[in-house]
Amino acid sequence: MTVLIVGGGTHIYFIARSLISKGKEIVIINKDQAECEAFSRRLKATVICGDGSQPRVLEEAGVRQVHKVLAVTPHDEDNFMICRLAKDVYGIKEAFALVNDPDNEEVFRSLGIGATFSLAPILSDLIERRAQKDSVIGFTPISEGKINLTEVVLDERAPCKGKKLRDIRFPTNTLIISVQRDGDVFIPSGDTAMLAGDRISFVCLPENYAKVLGLLVGKD
């Protein structure tokens, strides 16, 4: 499978490296000559130096042969153009756009770019939650941020320590998804007892978030 990435910066390097290690073919389009040279030296990828929002450059990069497109430039208009061209002109079904302005996310979706992601709300939420509690180690908004997947780590003082899940009085609409213990991950049952060091991931409605957090890791 070939993935075309348009954009620059250190994160592109690491995204590409990770995809290459999973056996994907990578083509990168980047405007900056020096960055292109660095990518070619360090990655087993095809690197094209040019403006990826221009059809000519996309075609030079073999856009007609790729399976997925990832548009991650700092300019929303470029990411928009790249994904629309990928879908409308080159028939690529999966085109992902980084949306720099979170307000644009809904607009992009309604204009046919279904796969969008916006870093600002994820990072600001993460900072807010992390600022609240050190025990929250993962926080992923899903369903357009209406609900969040949260991962916490239990310490010695966790109120749920030693209790079975069935005995913890979670609000309804709470789902404990997985437990990571000593490097293994498993899906818990009602009989699973919580231990210090466990990494618990859960989903609950936003109005119950503080309560669930309190039951698992306690109040600061």
Partner: protein, 142 residues
């Protein structure tokens, strides 16, 4: 498309945008001009009696500040093809504005924008056409 223009948004206050803004404004239309560089509003002569909004139109909030939801005409005339096409498609497909025009320099992108219902114009192609016509050379448009 010969309906009277009641409320037009013009994106980009360069020579083209300023000229259109003045013409529409002096013709009695309500006009809002958007540009990220407020110094460019100095291009507007006394014939312009509309409003100006400073900001990057790639931010939805800037388009909303210009009351894009109320406009019947949207003209994208910056020197950035992608910005012109994106905002034109937002105007057309998201805000359902009836008359959407965009200045697109790249001939391939111009063709793309046209295929999506935007009235796209390439100043370069128009100039070339005029030139070739007056020189008596027939041109077949791609």
């Amino acid at each position: 498309m010969s309906d009277r223009i009641a409320y037009a948004i013009i994106l980009g206050c360069g020579q083209l945008g300023a000229h259109l803004a003045e013409t529409l404004s002096s013709g009695g239309s309500d006009v809002v001009v958007i540009d990220e560089d407020s110094a460019r509003f100095a291009e507007l002569s006394d014939r312009f009696s509309g409003f100006t909004v400073e900001g990057d139109a790639a931010e939805l909030s800037v388009l909303l500040r210009a009351r894009i939801d109320k406009a019947d005409t949207f003209i994208a005339a910056t020197d950035n093809d992608r910005l012109n096409i994106m905002t034109a498609l937002i105007a057309l497909e998201y805000f359902n504005i009836g008359r959407v025009l965009a200045c697109v320099r790249d001939p391939v992108l111009e063709g793309y924008a046209r295929s999506k219902g935007v009235e796209a114009f390439s100043p370069l192609l128009i100039a070339a056409e005029k030139f070739l016509t007056s020189a008596g050379i027939p041109e077949v448009r791609a």
